[in-house]
Assembly symmetry: C2
Homo-oligomer: 176 residues x 2
C-alpha cells in the first residue's frame, strides 16, 4: 500500500497558501497518480467547525479537527494537504505528533505584501476594526522554527514554490 503523508501549509492570510497548495495537489495527482485531498481552511470551518470563532481556543479546536481528519487520510494512504493559517506553533506541533508523516511548509510572505494584495478584502476590514483577532493585525502569527520547506511567495513563482515542495517530498522518501 502507498504511504500517506500530510503537507501542512502555514502562513498569513493572502500569503499564497491556496494557490500553491492547489498546484502541488495537481502535480501529485498527475505525476504520481496519488489520491490527494486539499483541506481548505474555509471548507473545513463550514463542515466541521460551524459556530467556532477566532479566539485562541476556537482556532485551536478548529486546527485540531483539521489535524484529526488529515491523520485519518494519512494513515489510509492518502496525501492530505492543509491550507489554513494555523498561526500557533504549539498546535502545529500537536498536529505533527498526531499525524506522523508531516511536511510543514512555511509560506513566507511579508505582511505588507499580503496586505497590499488583500484578495478577500479582509485586511481592510481588520484595519477598520470590523474584523477582530485578525492574524498579523491584532492576533499573532508564530512562524515555524524548523519547517521542512520555506517558500517565498513574494519572489518565487507558484510553479517554483510547488517544485521545491515536491522535491522535498521525494527527498524524504514519501513517494517510494
Amino acid at each position: 500500500m502507498q504511504k500517506g503523508f500530510t503537507i501542512w501549509f502555514t502562513g498569513l492570510s493572502g500569503s499564497g497558501k491556496s494557490t500553491v497548495s492547489k498546484l502541488v495537489a495537481k502535480k501529485i495527482r498527475e505525476e504520481y497518480q496519488r489520491n490527494v485531498e486539499v483541506l481548505d481552511g474555509d471548507v473545513v470551518r463550514q463542515n466541521l467547525s460551524k459556530g467556532l470563532g477566532f479566539s485562541k481556543e476556537d482556532r485551536d479546536t478548529n486546527i485540531l479537527r483539521i489535524a484529526f481528519v488529515a491523520m485519518l487520510l494519512t494513515r489510509n494512504g492518502v496525501v492530505a494537504i492543509t491550507a489554513a493559517i494555523s498561526p500557533y506553533r504549539d498546535i502545529r506541533q500537536k498536529a505533527r505528533e498526531s499525524i506522523g508523516n508531516f511536511i510543514e511548509v512555511h509560506v513566507n510572505c511579508p505582511l505588507e505584501i499580503c496586505e497590499q494584495r488583500d484578495v478577500k478584502g479582509l485586511y481592510k476590514k481588520a484595519r477598520a476594526g470590523q474584523i477582530k483577532l485578525f492574524t498579523g493585525i491584532d492576533d499573532p502569527y508564530e512562524a515555524p522554527d524548523e519547517p521542512e520547506v520555506v517558500i517565498y511567495t513574494d519572489r518565487e513563482s507558484p510553479e517554483d514554490s510547488a517544485n521545491k515542495i515536491i522535491n522535498k517530498i521525494k527527498e524524504l522518501g514519501y513517494f517510494s
Copy 2:
C-alpha cells in the same frame, strides 16, 4: 485506483454496531487488502464534536460531520465504516447523497434485548432519568425504509452478519 465506499451502520445503542463493524473492517483488510477506517461514534464526538449535546440539532450536526469525513475518505479510495446510532432518517439520507457509494446497514435488534444487554449501563441511567434524550427511551429511532442490508443481531452470529454485509458489497461491485 480502488473504489472507495462507505458502510453506514445504524441501530440502537447496544444493538451490536461496534462488534459487527470491527469484524467487517478486519475481514475487508485481510481478505481484500483495502484501507479501512472505522469512524466510531464516541471517537468522532471526542475529536470533531466536543461540546455538542443530544438534541435533534446537535445530533444532526454530529452526523453531518461524520458524513463529511466519510465522504472525504470514500472519494480517496478508502473504505469508511461508520458506527453511530444515527437515529434520524432525513440526515442519513443527506449522508447517502453526499457520499454516493453508500451501503446502509440496519442493525436490527429489539429494544428489549439491547436494554437487557446494557453493555455501557446507559439504558439503566436513561430509565432512571439520569440521561435525557436517549434513543429508544425518550428520543425516537427511525428505522431505514430501504437499507442495503439488514442484520438481526439477536439471532445471527456476528460472523454471519459480517458475511451478509461482505456479500452485498461484492454484489454491488465495490470490490472490483
